[in-house]
Symmetry: C2
Subunit: 264 residues, 2 copies
Protein backbone atom coordinates (compact mmCIF):
# COMPACT_ATOMS: atom_id res chain seq x y z
CA UNK A 1 0.00 0.00 0.00
CA UNK A 2 3.15 2.10 -0.04
CA UNK A 3 3.04 3.24 -3.68
CA UNK A 4 -0.78 3.43 -3.90
CA UNK A 5 -0.71 5.74 -0.87
CA UNK A 6 1.60 8.12 -2.77
CA UNK A 7 -0.45 7.77 -5.97
CA UNK A 8 -3.64 8.71 -4.09
CA UNK A 9 -1.97 11.67 -2.37
CA UNK A 10 -2.36 10.12 1.11
CA UNK A 11 1.34 9.52 1.74
CA UNK A 12 3.87 12.28 0.87
CA UNK A 13 6.46 11.06 -1.64
CA UNK A 14 9.41 11.94 0.62
CA UNK A 15 7.90 9.97 3.50
CA UNK A 16 7.52 6.89 1.29
CA UNK A 17 11.05 7.26 -0.12
CA UNK A 18 12.58 7.67 3.32
CA UNK A 19 10.93 4.62 4.88
CA UNK A 20 13.83 2.55 6.24
CA UNK A 21 14.44 -1.11 6.93
CA UNK A 22 13.67 -1.81 10.61
CA UNK A 23 16.99 -3.66 10.95
CA UNK A 24 19.15 -1.36 8.81
CA UNK A 25 18.20 2.33 8.73
CA UNK A 26 20.46 3.04 5.72
CA UNK A 27 18.31 0.78 3.53
CA UNK A 28 15.44 3.04 2.39
CA UNK A 29 12.70 2.55 -0.18
CA UNK A 30 14.33 5.11 -2.50
CA UNK A 31 17.79 3.50 -2.22
CA UNK A 32 16.33 0.08 -3.03
CA UNK A 33 14.32 1.43 -6.01
CA UNK A 34 17.53 2.95 -7.38
CA UNK A 35 19.56 -0.23 -6.76
CA UNK A 36 17.00 -2.34 -8.66
CA UNK A 37 16.56 0.21 -11.49
CA UNK A 38 12.91 0.84 -10.57
CA UNK A 39 13.11 4.57 -9.81
CA UNK A 40 11.13 5.74 -12.86
CA UNK A 41 10.64 9.23 -14.30
CA UNK A 42 6.82 9.42 -14.27
CA UNK A 43 5.45 11.25 -11.21
CA UNK A 44 3.62 8.85 -8.93
CA UNK A 45 0.22 10.56 -8.68
CA UNK A 46 -3.35 10.13 -9.85
CA UNK A 47 -2.98 13.39 -11.84
CA UNK A 48 -0.02 12.31 -13.98
CA UNK A 49 -1.10 8.66 -14.16
CA UNK A 50 -4.92 8.66 -13.97
CA UNK A 51 -7.09 5.53 -13.74
CA UNK A 52 -10.70 5.28 -14.95
CA UNK A 53 -11.38 2.45 -12.52
CA UNK A 54 -9.31 0.02 -10.42
CA UNK A 55 -9.95 -3.71 -10.03
CA UNK A 56 -7.71 -5.77 -7.74
CA UNK A 57 -7.48 -9.55 -7.63
CA UNK A 58 -6.20 -10.94 -4.32
CA UNK A 59 -6.21 -14.08 -2.22
CA UNK A 60 -8.67 -13.73 0.67
CA UNK A 61 -5.91 -14.21 3.31
CA UNK A 62 -8.64 -15.76 5.45
CA UNK A 63 -10.66 -18.98 5.62
CA UNK A 64 -14.19 -17.73 4.81
CA UNK A 65 -14.41 -18.58 1.07
CA UNK A 66 -12.85 -22.00 1.63
CA UNK A 67 -15.15 -22.69 4.61
CA UNK A 68 -18.22 -21.57 2.62
CA UNK A 69 -17.16 -23.52 -0.49
CA UNK A 70 -17.31 -20.39 -2.69
CA UNK A 71 -14.82 -19.74 -5.51
CA UNK A 72 -15.11 -15.95 -5.79
CA UNK A 73 -15.53 -13.23 -3.18
CA UNK A 74 -17.17 -9.98 -4.33
CA UNK A 75 -15.49 -7.61 -1.90
CA UNK A 76 -17.92 -5.06 -0.49
CA UNK A 77 -15.22 -2.97 1.19
CA UNK A 78 -12.46 -3.02 3.79
CA UNK A 79 -13.18 -3.01 7.49
CA UNK A 80 -12.15 -0.19 9.80
CA UNK A 81 -9.11 -0.64 12.00
CA UNK A 82 -7.19 1.22 14.66
CA UNK A 83 -3.69 0.33 15.84
CA UNK A 84 -2.72 1.16 19.41
CA UNK A 85 0.56 0.99 21.30
CA UNK A 86 0.07 0.33 24.99
CA UNK A 87 2.92 1.08 27.42
CA UNK A 88 2.67 -0.35 30.93
CA UNK A 89 5.20 1.00 33.42
CA UNK A 90 5.92 -0.75 36.70
CA UNK A 91 9.06 -1.41 38.74
CA UNK A 92 11.76 -4.08 38.46
CA UNK A 93 11.65 -6.41 41.44
CA UNK A 94 13.04 -9.72 42.60
CA UNK A 95 10.42 -12.44 42.10
CA UNK A 96 11.41 -14.30 45.26
CA UNK A 97 11.56 -11.44 47.75
CA UNK A 98 8.76 -9.13 46.60
CA UNK A 99 5.30 -10.04 47.94
CA UNK A 100 2.36 -9.51 45.56
CA UNK A 101 1.14 -6.50 47.57
CA UNK A 102 4.51 -4.71 47.13
CA UNK A 103 4.74 -5.24 43.36
CA UNK A 104 4.22 -2.95 40.40
CA UNK A 105 4.15 -5.78 37.87
CA UNK A 106 3.66 -4.53 34.28
CA UNK A 107 3.74 -8.02 32.77
CA UNK A 108 0.82 -9.34 34.84
CA UNK A 109 -1.17 -6.16 34.07
CA UNK A 110 -0.36 -6.36 30.33
CA UNK A 111 -1.41 -10.03 30.23
CA UNK A 112 -4.74 -9.09 31.82
CA UNK A 113 -5.18 -6.27 29.27
CA UNK A 114 -4.59 -8.62 26.33
CA UNK A 115 -7.20 -11.04 27.72
CA UNK A 116 -9.65 -8.20 28.43
CA UNK A 117 -9.36 -6.66 24.92
CA UNK A 118 -10.12 -10.09 23.46
CA UNK A 119 -13.28 -10.37 25.61
CA UNK A 120 -14.44 -6.87 24.61
CA UNK A 121 -13.94 -7.64 20.90
CA UNK A 122 -15.79 -10.96 21.17
CA UNK A 123 -18.80 -9.26 22.77
CA UNK A 124 -19.12 -6.93 19.75
CA UNK A 125 -18.25 -9.38 16.97
CA UNK A 126 -15.04 -7.42 16.34
CA UNK A 127 -11.36 -8.43 16.30
CA UNK A 128 -8.69 -7.39 18.81
CA UNK A 129 -5.20 -8.81 18.42
CA UNK A 130 -1.78 -8.39 19.96
CA UNK A 131 1.19 -9.14 17.70
CA UNK A 132 3.99 -7.33 19.55
CA UNK A 133 4.72 -7.75 23.26
CA UNK A 134 8.11 -6.34 24.29
CA UNK A 135 10.07 -6.46 27.55
CA UNK A 136 13.31 -4.54 28.22
CA UNK A 137 16.59 -6.36 27.54
CA UNK A 138 17.92 -8.18 30.58
CA UNK A 139 14.68 -9.31 32.20
CA UNK A 140 15.11 -12.82 33.56
CA UNK A 141 13.29 -15.68 35.25
CA UNK A 142 13.72 -14.22 38.74
CA UNK A 143 13.03 -10.55 38.06
CA UNK A 144 9.90 -8.64 37.17
CA UNK A 145 10.47 -6.24 34.25
CA UNK A 146 10.01 -2.48 34.71
CA UNK A 147 8.01 -2.05 31.51
CA UNK A 148 5.96 -3.90 28.92
CA UNK A 149 5.00 -2.41 25.55
CA UNK A 150 2.38 -4.19 23.46
CA UNK A 151 0.32 -3.47 20.33
CA UNK A 152 -3.44 -3.77 19.94
CA UNK A 153 -5.07 -4.04 16.52
CA UNK A 154 -8.86 -3.48 16.70
CA UNK A 155 -10.99 -4.19 13.60
CA UNK A 156 -14.68 -4.17 12.70
CA UNK A 157 -16.69 -3.32 9.55
CA UNK A 158 -17.86 -0.17 11.38
CA UNK A 159 -15.51 2.57 12.54
CA UNK A 160 -18.01 3.40 15.31
CA UNK A 161 -17.60 -0.07 16.83
CA UNK A 162 -13.78 0.20 16.61
CA UNK A 163 -13.95 3.52 18.49
CA UNK A 164 -16.33 2.03 21.07
CA UNK A 165 -13.96 -0.89 21.77
CA UNK A 166 -11.00 1.49 22.00
CA UNK A 167 -12.90 3.54 24.56
CA UNK A 168 -13.86 0.44 26.58
CA UNK A 169 -10.20 -0.68 26.48
CA UNK A 170 -9.09 2.65 27.99
CA UNK A 171 -11.64 2.22 30.78
CA UNK A 172 -10.82 -1.46 31.38
CA UNK A 173 -7.03 -1.03 31.18
CA UNK A 174 -7.10 1.81 33.72
CA UNK A 175 -9.06 -0.44 36.09
CA UNK A 176 -6.65 -3.36 35.56
CA UNK A 177 -3.71 -1.00 36.22
CA UNK A 178 -4.96 -0.55 39.81
CA UNK A 179 -5.87 -4.19 40.53
CA UNK A 180 -2.61 -5.73 41.73
CA UNK A 181 -0.01 -4.70 44.25
CA UNK A 182 0.89 -1.03 44.16
CA UNK A 183 -0.53 -0.60 40.64
CA UNK A 184 1.11 0.26 37.33
CA UNK A 185 0.93 3.22 34.92
CA UNK A 186 -0.62 2.75 31.51
CA UNK A 187 -0.49 4.98 28.42
CA UNK A 188 -2.30 4.22 25.17
CA UNK A 189 -1.30 5.84 21.88
CA UNK A 190 -3.11 5.65 18.54
CA UNK A 191 -0.61 4.75 15.78
CA UNK A 192 -2.99 4.29 12.84
CA UNK A 193 -6.69 4.92 12.38
CA UNK A 194 -8.43 3.74 9.22
CA UNK A 195 -12.23 4.08 8.86
CA UNK A 196 -14.12 1.47 6.82
CA UNK A 197 -14.10 1.71 3.01
CA UNK A 198 -17.05 0.82 0.75
CA UNK A 199 -16.13 -0.12 -2.81
CA UNK A 200 -18.03 1.39 -5.78
CA UNK A 201 -21.47 -0.23 -6.44
CA UNK A 202 -20.83 -0.34 -10.23
CA UNK A 203 -17.52 -2.17 -9.73
CA UNK A 204 -19.13 -4.64 -7.31
CA UNK A 205 -21.96 -5.26 -9.74
CA UNK A 206 -19.52 -5.81 -12.63
CA UNK A 207 -17.57 -8.35 -10.56
CA UNK A 208 -20.78 -10.13 -9.44
CA UNK A 209 -22.01 -10.50 -13.03
CA UNK A 210 -18.64 -11.76 -14.27
CA UNK A 211 -18.46 -14.23 -11.35
CA UNK A 212 -21.96 -15.54 -12.09
CA UNK A 213 -20.93 -16.14 -15.70
CA UNK A 214 -17.77 -18.05 -14.72
CA UNK A 215 -18.61 -19.96 -11.49
CA UNK A 216 -22.44 -19.73 -11.42
CA UNK A 217 -24.69 -17.93 -8.95
CA UNK A 218 -23.81 -20.38 -6.14
CA UNK A 219 -20.08 -19.97 -6.72
CA UNK A 220 -19.62 -16.47 -5.32
CA UNK A 221 -20.46 -14.51 -2.19
CA UNK A 222 -20.18 -10.97 -0.85
CA UNK A 223 -17.28 -10.60 1.55
CA UNK A 224 -15.60 -7.82 3.58
CA UNK A 225 -11.83 -7.43 3.38
CA UNK A 226 -10.19 -7.82 6.77
CA UNK A 227 -6.86 -6.40 5.61
CA UNK A 228 -5.87 -3.13 3.98
CA UNK A 229 -5.10 -3.21 0.22
CA UNK A 230 -4.02 -0.83 -2.57
CA UNK A 231 -7.71 -0.61 -3.46
CA UNK A 232 -8.38 1.18 -0.17
CA UNK A 233 -6.30 4.09 -1.52
CA UNK A 234 -7.45 3.95 -5.16
CA UNK A 235 -11.10 4.00 -3.98
CA UNK A 236 -10.52 7.58 -2.80
CA UNK A 237 -9.81 8.66 -6.39
CA UNK A 238 -11.65 6.37 -8.79
CA UNK A 239 -14.34 3.64 -8.86
CA UNK A 240 -12.73 0.57 -7.29
CA UNK A 241 -13.58 -3.08 -6.70
CA UNK A 242 -11.80 -6.22 -5.45
CA UNK A 243 -12.08 -9.89 -6.28
CA UNK A 244 -11.07 -12.46 -3.66
CA UNK A 245 -10.15 -16.05 -4.37
CA UNK A 246 -9.53 -18.92 -1.94
CA UNK A 247 -6.17 -19.56 -0.29
CA UNK A 248 -5.42 -22.82 1.50
CA UNK A 249 -6.43 -22.77 5.18
CA UNK A 250 -6.71 -18.97 4.98
CA UNK A 251 -2.93 -18.68 5.43
CA UNK A 252 -0.97 -15.72 3.98
CA UNK A 253 2.43 -14.03 4.50
CA UNK A 254 3.85 -17.47 5.30
CA UNK A 255 5.81 -20.13 3.35
CA UNK A 256 2.70 -22.37 3.34
CA UNK A 257 0.54 -19.74 1.55
CA UNK A 258 -1.09 -21.44 -1.45
CA UNK A 259 -3.61 -20.56 -4.13
CA UNK A 260 -4.33 -23.22 -6.78
CA UNK A 261 -3.76 -22.32 -10.47
CA UNK A 262 -7.50 -23.01 -11.07
CA UNK A 263 -8.55 -20.47 -8.44
CA UNK A 264 -6.16 -17.86 -9.76
CA UNK B 1 25.82 -18.82 44.47
CA UNK B 2 28.24 -19.91 41.77
CA UNK B 3 31.31 -20.49 43.94
CA UNK B 4 29.40 -21.75 47.00
CA UNK B 5 27.76 -24.36 44.76
CA UNK B 6 31.22 -25.66 43.80
CA UNK B 7 32.45 -25.45 47.41
CA UNK B 8 29.47 -27.56 48.59
CA UNK B 9 29.93 -30.12 45.80
CA UNK B 10 26.56 -29.28 44.20
CA UNK B 11 27.99 -27.71 41.02
CA UNK B 12 30.88 -29.47 39.21
CA UNK B 13 33.95 -27.19 38.93
CA UNK B 14 34.14 -27.49 35.13
CA UNK B 15 30.48 -26.48 34.80
CA UNK B 16 31.08 -23.35 36.90
CA UNK B 17 34.27 -22.48 35.00
CA UNK B 18 32.58 -22.92 31.60
CA UNK B 19 29.57 -20.74 32.38
CA UNK B 20 29.56 -18.13 29.58
CA UNK B 21 28.29 -14.59 29.23
CA UNK B 22 24.82 -14.69 27.66
CA UNK B 23 25.88 -12.01 25.13
CA UNK B 24 29.43 -13.24 24.45
CA UNK B 25 30.02 -17.01 24.70
CA UNK B 26 33.84 -16.59 24.73
CA UNK B 27 33.68 -14.77 28.07
CA UNK B 28 33.59 -17.58 30.65
CA UNK B 29 33.86 -17.54 34.43
CA UNK B 30 37.33 -19.16 34.23
CA UNK B 31 38.62 -16.68 31.63
CA UNK B 32 37.41 -13.76 33.74
CA UNK B 33 38.96 -15.20 36.95
CA UNK B 34 42.28 -15.49 35.10
CA UNK B 35 42.03 -12.00 33.61
CA UNK B 36 41.43 -10.47 37.06
CA UNK B 37 44.10 -12.59 38.80
CA UNK B 38 41.53 -14.39 40.97
CA UNK B 39 42.12 -17.95 39.76
CA UNK B 40 43.72 -19.21 43.02
CA UNK B 41 45.56 -22.45 43.79
CA UNK B 42 43.46 -23.74 46.70
CA UNK B 43 40.84 -26.28 45.59
CA UNK B 44 37.33 -24.87 45.94
CA UNK B 45 35.73 -27.52 48.17
CA UNK B 46 34.49 -27.97 51.71
CA UNK B 47 37.20 -30.65 52.19
CA UNK B 48 40.19 -28.46 51.37
CA UNK B 49 38.68 -25.31 52.83
CA UNK B 50 36.39 -26.45 55.67
CA UNK B 51 34.09 -24.14 57.64
CA UNK B 52 32.93 -24.75 61.24
CA UNK B 53 29.83 -22.63 60.63
CA UNK B 54 28.67 -20.05 58.10
CA UNK B 55 26.92 -16.74 58.89
CA UNK B 56 25.82 -14.48 56.03
CA UNK B 57 24.75 -10.85 56.33
CA UNK B 58 22.49 -9.65 53.51
CA UNK B 59 19.94 -6.98 52.66
CA UNK B 60 16.44 -8.46 52.74
CA UNK B 61 15.79 -7.59 49.06
CA UNK B 62 12.14 -7.22 50.08
CA UNK B 63 9.92 -4.78 52.00
CA UNK B 64 8.96 -6.86 55.05
CA UNK B 65 11.50 -5.58 57.66
CA UNK B 66 10.96 -1.98 56.59
CA UNK B 67 7.15 -2.41 56.66
CA UNK B 68 7.30 -4.08 60.11
CA UNK B 69 9.75 -1.49 61.46
CA UNK B 70 12.30 -4.16 62.48
CA UNK B 71 16.05 -3.65 62.19
CA UNK B 72 17.20 -7.29 62.04
CA UNK B 73 15.71 -10.36 60.38
CA UNK B 74 16.63 -13.74 61.89
CA UNK B 75 16.37 -15.85 58.75
CA UNK B 76 14.67 -19.17 59.38
CA UNK B 77 15.50 -20.60 55.96
CA UNK B 78 14.98 -20.13 52.24
CA UNK B 79 11.70 -20.87 50.52
CA UNK B 80 11.29 -23.58 47.90
CA UNK B 81 11.15 -22.57 44.25
CA UNK B 82 10.68 -24.15 40.88
CA UNK B 83 11.48 -22.47 37.56
CA UNK B 84 9.48 -23.50 34.51
CA UNK B 85 9.78 -22.65 30.82
CA UNK B 86 6.43 -22.71 29.05
CA UNK B 87 6.34 -22.94 25.24
CA UNK B 88 3.07 -22.18 23.49
CA UNK B 89 2.92 -23.09 19.79
CA UNK B 90 0.26 -21.70 17.48
CA UNK B 91 0.23 -20.46 13.91
CA UNK B 92 1.17 -17.09 12.35
CA UNK B 93 -1.90 -15.37 10.96
CA UNK B 94 -3.00 -11.99 9.66
CA UNK B 95 -4.87 -10.12 12.41
CA UNK B 96 -7.32 -8.54 9.96
CA UNK B 97 -8.34 -11.56 7.92
CA UNK B 98 -8.34 -14.39 10.44
CA UNK B 99 -11.56 -14.73 12.47
CA UNK B 100 -11.18 -15.75 16.13
CA UNK B 101 -12.54 -19.25 15.41
CA UNK B 102 -9.80 -19.91 12.81
CA UNK B 103 -6.88 -18.77 14.99
CA UNK B 104 -4.20 -20.65 16.87
CA UNK B 105 -3.10 -17.61 18.88
CA UNK B 106 -0.22 -18.43 21.27
CA UNK B 107 -0.03 -14.88 22.66
CA UNK B 108 -3.64 -14.79 23.86
CA UNK B 109 -3.21 -18.27 25.39
CA UNK B 110 0.08 -17.31 27.08
CA UNK B 111 -1.49 -14.13 28.50
CA UNK B 112 -4.32 -16.21 29.98
CA UNK B 113 -1.75 -18.64 31.47
CA UNK B 114 0.19 -15.81 33.15
CA UNK B 115 -3.05 -14.51 34.68
CA UNK B 116 -4.14 -18.01 35.75
CA UNK B 117 -0.81 -18.85 37.44
CA UNK B 118 -1.10 -15.62 39.42
CA UNK B 119 -4.61 -16.61 40.61
CA UNK B 120 -3.44 -20.11 41.60
CA UNK B 121 -0.51 -18.70 43.60
CA UNK B 122 -2.70 -16.12 45.36
CA UNK B 123 -5.14 -18.85 46.47
CA UNK B 124 -2.29 -20.71 48.23
CA UNK B 125 -0.35 -17.71 49.62
CA UNK B 126 2.49 -18.54 47.22
CA UNK B 127 4.27 -16.51 44.52
CA UNK B 128 4.11 -17.08 40.76
CA UNK B 129 5.94 -14.65 38.50
CA UNK B 130 6.77 -14.27 34.83
CA UNK B 131 9.98 -12.36 34.01
CA UNK B 132 10.60 -13.53 30.44
CA UNK B 133 8.00 -13.45 27.65
CA UNK B 134 9.50 -13.95 24.19
CA UNK B 135 8.02 -13.75 20.69
CA UNK B 136 9.86 -14.70 17.49
CA UNK B 137 11.69 -11.91 15.62
CA UNK B 138 9.54 -10.26 13.00
CA UNK B 139 6.13 -10.38 14.68
CA UNK B 140 4.27 -7.14 14.04
CA UNK B 141 1.10 -5.21 14.83
CA UNK B 142 -0.94 -6.97 12.16
CA UNK B 143 0.28 -10.56 12.58
CA UNK B 144 -0.20 -13.15 15.28
CA UNK B 145 3.09 -14.81 16.26
CA UNK B 146 3.56 -18.56 15.78
CA UNK B 147 5.08 -19.09 19.22
CA UNK B 148 5.41 -17.57 22.68
CA UNK B 149 7.93 -18.76 25.28
CA UNK B 150 7.59 -17.54 28.85
CA UNK B 151 9.07 -18.37 32.25
CA UNK B 152 7.22 -19.12 35.44
CA UNK B 153 8.90 -18.85 38.85
CA UNK B 154 6.81 -20.51 41.59
CA UNK B 155 7.82 -20.01 45.27
CA UNK B 156 6.48 -20.97 48.67
CA UNK B 157 8.06 -21.91 52.03
CA UNK B 158 6.90 -25.51 51.38
CA UNK B 159 8.11 -27.56 48.42
CA UNK B 160 4.82 -29.49 48.55
CA UNK B 161 2.85 -26.32 47.82
CA UNK B 162 5.21 -25.43 44.95
CA UNK B 163 4.63 -28.87 43.46
CA UNK B 164 0.86 -28.56 43.94
CA UNK B 165 0.78 -25.20 42.09
CA UNK B 166 2.96 -26.60 39.30
CA UNK B 167 0.52 -29.48 38.91
CA UNK B 168 -2.50 -27.14 38.87
CA UNK B 169 -0.72 -24.99 36.26
CA UNK B 170 -0.30 -28.03 33.99
CA UNK B 171 -4.02 -28.78 34.32
CA UNK B 172 -5.11 -25.16 33.85
CA UNK B 173 -2.72 -24.41 30.97
CA UNK B 174 -3.90 -27.49 29.05
CA UNK B 175 -7.50 -26.31 29.46
CA UNK B 176 -6.61 -22.74 28.34
CA UNK B 177 -4.79 -24.20 25.30
CA UNK B 178 -8.15 -25.53 24.02
CA UNK B 179 -10.28 -22.46 24.82
CA UNK B 180 -9.86 -20.21 21.78
CA UNK B 181 -10.07 -20.80 18.05
CA UNK B 182 -8.40 -23.99 16.88
CA UNK B 183 -6.34 -24.31 20.05
CA UNK B 184 -2.60 -24.15 20.70
CA UNK B 185 0.03 -26.65 21.88
CA UNK B 186 1.69 -26.16 25.25
CA UNK B 187 4.82 -27.78 26.70
CA UNK B 188 6.12 -27.10 30.20
CA UNK B 189 9.72 -27.86 31.20
CA UNK B 190 11.23 -27.71 34.67
CA UNK B 191 14.51 -25.73 34.53
CA UNK B 192 15.35 -25.56 38.26
CA UNK B 193 13.83 -27.19 41.33
CA UNK B 194 14.98 -26.13 44.78
CA UNK B 195 13.22 -27.50 47.90
CA UNK B 196 12.99 -25.30 50.98
CA UNK B 197 16.04 -24.95 53.28
CA UNK B 198 15.90 -24.66 57.09
CA UNK B 199 18.90 -22.99 58.73
CA UNK B 200 20.57 -24.51 61.80
CA UNK B 201 18.69 -23.86 65.09
CA UNK B 202 21.96 -23.05 66.96
CA UNK B 203 22.89 -20.43 64.36
CA UNK B 204 19.40 -18.91 64.43
CA UNK B 205 19.53 -18.79 68.25
CA UNK B 206 22.98 -17.15 68.21
CA UNK B 207 21.73 -14.47 65.78
CA UNK B 208 18.56 -13.88 67.83
CA UNK B 209 20.57 -13.37 71.06
CA UNK B 210 23.02 -11.02 69.38
CA UNK B 211 20.15 -9.03 67.80
CA UNK B 212 18.40 -8.71 71.15
CA UNK B 213 21.59 -7.32 72.65
CA UNK B 214 22.04 -4.73 69.88
CA UNK B 215 18.52 -3.66 68.82
CA UNK B 216 16.40 -4.98 71.71
CA UNK B 217 13.74 -7.71 71.67
CA UNK B 218 11.35 -5.57 69.63
CA UNK B 219 13.99 -4.77 67.04
CA UNK B 220 14.16 -8.17 65.32
CA UNK B 221 11.84 -10.72 63.76
CA UNK B 222 11.97 -14.17 62.22
CA UNK B 223 11.84 -14.04 58.43
CA UNK B 224 12.02 -16.46 55.50
CA UNK B 225 14.38 -15.71 52.63
CA UNK B 226 12.55 -15.36 49.34
CA UNK B 227 15.71 -15.57 47.25
CA UNK B 228 18.49 -18.15 47.03
CA UNK B 229 21.83 -17.31 48.74
CA UNK B 230 25.30 -18.85 49.28
CA UNK B 231 23.96 -19.99 52.66
CA UNK B 232 21.54 -22.36 50.89
CA UNK B 233 24.61 -24.32 49.71
CA UNK B 234 26.75 -24.00 52.85
CA UNK B 235 23.80 -25.26 54.94
CA UNK B 236 24.26 -28.64 53.27
CA UNK B 237 27.77 -28.93 54.76
CA UNK B 238 27.96 -26.95 58.01
CA UNK B 239 25.69 -25.14 60.52
CA UNK B 240 24.47 -22.01 58.75
CA UNK B 241 22.48 -18.89 59.56
CA UNK B 242 21.60 -15.59 57.86
CA UNK B 243 21.03 -12.06 59.10
CA UNK B 244 18.82 -9.72 57.09
CA UNK B 245 18.82 -5.93 57.33
CA UNK B 246 16.47 -3.41 55.76
CA UNK B 247 16.87 -2.06 52.24
CA UNK B 248 14.97 0.98 51.03
CA UNK B 249 11.55 0.09 49.54
CA UNK B 250 12.65 -3.54 49.32
CA UNK B 251 14.52 -2.79 46.07
CA UNK B 252 17.59 -4.80 45.03
CA UNK B 253 19.61 -5.49 41.84
CA UNK B 254 18.78 -1.96 40.72
CA UNK B 255 20.59 1.41 40.77
CA UNK B 256 18.22 2.63 43.51
CA UNK B 257 19.17 -0.23 45.91
CA UNK B 258 20.08 1.35 49.26
CA UNK B 259 21.01 0.17 52.74
CA UNK B 260 21.89 2.84 55.32
CA UNK B 261 25.33 2.69 57.01
CA UNK B 262 23.50 2.35 60.39
CA UNK B 263 21.59 -0.74 59.23
CA UNK B 264 24.73 -2.31 57.79
Amino acid sequence: MHASGVWAGVTPLEEAWNLADIMNPSTTTKAELQRHGYLGELTCSSASYPLGAHFELHIEQGPILEGSNKKVGVVSGAQAYRWLTVTVDGRDAHTGTTPFNARKDPLLAAAKMVVHSNELAKERGALASTGVFKLPMGSSTNTLPAQVVFTLDIRHPSHEVVKEIHSKCIEGFNKIAMEDGKGVDVTIEVETDSPEIKFHPDCREAIRKAANAVVGEDGSMDIMSGAGHDSVYTSRICPTGMIFVQCKDGVSHHPTEYCSPEDW
